[in-house]
């Protein structure tokens, strides 16, 4: 019974938690500029994230350890320092992007400038973490996140040409703006395979006290949850392709993306977009801030856990408080939220080898995982996609910066 609950809740929260600021930005851009042509990068990314999340949950269930904890224990502090530094940077940038997303959603509804919202949003996010337990945060925000399914509904209402959608599932070369094409492809990879996601997932599994009997549940949650989650991103690409692309609206600012749902839902579309964006980003912001605190606390062996009261893990609380403050400052000082998001997603893709390879080494340790260690198939799939993302990122980031997009 408890397993069935975990299963249902796990799938719902993965679906609801899948879509965040990075997905909104990259899918809107992809659909608006290249219609269905970049769907392949979403599929490739989804495949990898299913493997990574499954591995991360399996690792936590078998060893009872979260990833940062286990990597330092196993490979030592000096080895862990580089992935740790990379993760810290990614956490701060991603948190900034998510806070920017919440601020923009509030800006849509109120008209008050994004920068002015940043301090309010920072306090709000912090207060959630200060007062709640892990399961309340995880479940409430992710269930509310199911609102992002409006993108799927809207996509169906538009009756997209199925032939073109299917054709987009295979990689093809662009007929215009190749720099932009590859940069968006990389950003989609980085948005879907966000490194914080699978590091966070293992800490969550430890918080939920998983044991090896959860391996089956974990496999289904990873496959179904992430699979359906990516349907939301697919929906967003389709909507942008049907609504924005024919009008020649490319997305260089969130205002342009905000028009996406108004064709499918003439009256509610605008509010739905703001609500979906605000909730998706809030859920993600909470997760990223927590993930940052988990990673730091585990690195130094401090007491950690969102179910303890702040008195019992003062340093853990200090980390998420500081992270929220720093990230909100980015938005307060006027960094453009969309640009921050796109850059962060591309950096995510470039960072993949640093955070995935230690994890992969651990997954192949027979002493630690016994019969649950990785098979050759998952190793091959992961290595292939990680190296591909890295090469694409290293090539396309400088081009995009030079192109000024």
């Amino acid at each position: 019974m408890k397993k069935a609950m975990t299963l249902a809740l796990g799938i719902l929260t993965s679906v609801g938690g899948f879509f965040d600021v990075g997905n909104i930005a990259t899918t809107a851009q992809a659909g608006a500029s290249f219609r269905f042509q970049l769907i392949w990068s979403l599929l490739l990314a989804t495949l990898l994230v299913i493997f990574l999340v499954e591995m991360s949950g399996r690792f936590a269930a078998v060893s009872g350890k979260a990833l940062p904890d286990a990597i330092r224990e196993h490979f030592g502090f000096t080895f862990w320092l580089v992935p740790f530094a990379v993760l810290t940077l990614i956490h701060l940038l991603t948190l900034g992007a998510e806070i920017g997303g919440i601020c923009f959603a509030l800006h849509l509804v109120t008209g008050i400038p994004v920068q002015l919202w940043a301090p309010v949003v920072a306090v709000l996010t912090w207060f959630f973490l200060w007062r709640s337990t892990f399961s309340t945060i995880e479940n409430s925000t992710s269930l509310l996140g199911l609102l992002t399914l409006v993108f799927v509904v809207a996509a169906l209402l538009h009756h997209p040409p199925s032939g073109e959608v299917v054709a987009g599932m295979l990689p093809s070369l662009p007929d215009h703006d190749p720099e932009k094409y590859w940069f968006i492809a990389v950003s989609i990879l980085g948005a879907v395979i966000a490194p914080y996601l699978f590091y966070f997932y293992s800490s969550g599994a430890v918080e939920d006290e998983w044991d090896p009997s959860y391996i089956g549940v974990n496999r289904v949650v990873a496959l179904v949850g992430m699979g359906f989650g990516s349907a939301i991103s697919l929906g967003a690409i389709v909507v942008a392709a049907m609504v924005l692309a024919p009008r020649g609206i490319e997305v260089s600012d969130y205002h342009q993306a905000a028009l996406m749902l108004t064709d499918a839902f003439p009256f509610w579309g605008f509010v739905l977009f703001a609500a979906a964006m605000g909730i998706a980003c809030l859920g993600a912001a909470l997760e990223v801030a927590l993930s940052m605190a988990y990673t730091t606390a585990q690195t130094f062996g401090w007491n950690w856990g969102e179910d303890l009261s702040p008195r019992e893990d003062a340093r853990f609380c200090l980390v998420y408080t500081g992270a929220i403050l720093l990230s909100a400052l980015l938005i307060m000082f006027g960094v453009d939220p969309l640009r921050l998001t796109l850059l962060t997603m591309a950096i995510n893709a470039a960072a993949l080898p640093f955070v995935v390879i230690p994890f992969l080494l651990l997954m192949n340790d027979g002493k630690l995982l016994r019969e649950h260690r990785n098979g050759w198939l998952s190793n091959a799939v992961i290595l292939f996609i990680v190296i591909l993302s890295f090469v694409l990122a290293v090539v396309s980031i400088p081009l995009a910066i030079r192109g000024g997009s």
């Binding site: 008209g111 020649g248 605008f270 290293v394 090539v395 081009l399």
Partner: protein
């Protein structure tokens, strides 16, 4: 072993980046100008859509206002790039007129929306649509230069 593989990857990436970089260097000043002002067309189209949606009550007035404000920033930047460009005078003048038109029409739209005046908004929206089509034709003509 691992370091060796990463080193090789790094080299491949660097060579690819360098080749791509050189390929980009060969843009004409006209193409470069179009690339640097490529935000203008999408903004004209977005303001047109925002205006249309406002007239049928799909988006609130303040959304049109803040969209226009964001677009004005992009227009100003594009105008600066146009002034600085080494592209041929015909293109610069044409683009300059387009951007000035965008600035004027979006200001008109903003005013009409602030005054809740649908009748005044319609011509502004129509003008934005015309400018948007004009911009698209212009950037196409630069992409495929006539011999």
């Amino acid at each position: 072993m691992r370091r060796g593989r990463q080193g090789a990857l790094g080299k491949i990436a660097m060579v690819t980046a360098a080749v791509a970089f050189l390929a980009c260097q060969q843009q004409t000043p006209e193409q470069e100008l179009i690339r640097k002002t490529d935000a203008v067309g999408p903004w004209l189209a977005a303001l047109q859509m925002a205006g249309e949606k406002w007239t049928v009550n799909s988006v609130p007035a303040r959304f049109v206002r803040t969209s226009v404000d964001a677009a004005q920033k992009a227009f100003t930047k594009a105008a600066r790039e146009t002034g600085r460009s080494a592209a041929r005078a015909g293109l610069r003048d044409h683009l300059g007129r387009l951007i000035a038109g965008g600035q004027a029409e979006s200001a008109r739209l903003r005013q009409a929306v602030a005054a809740q005046d649908r009748r005044a908004a319609v011509p502004a929206i129509r003008a934005l649509a015309a400018l948007s089509a004009d911009f698209e034709a212009l950037s196409k003509s630069v992409d495929e230069p006539s011999p």
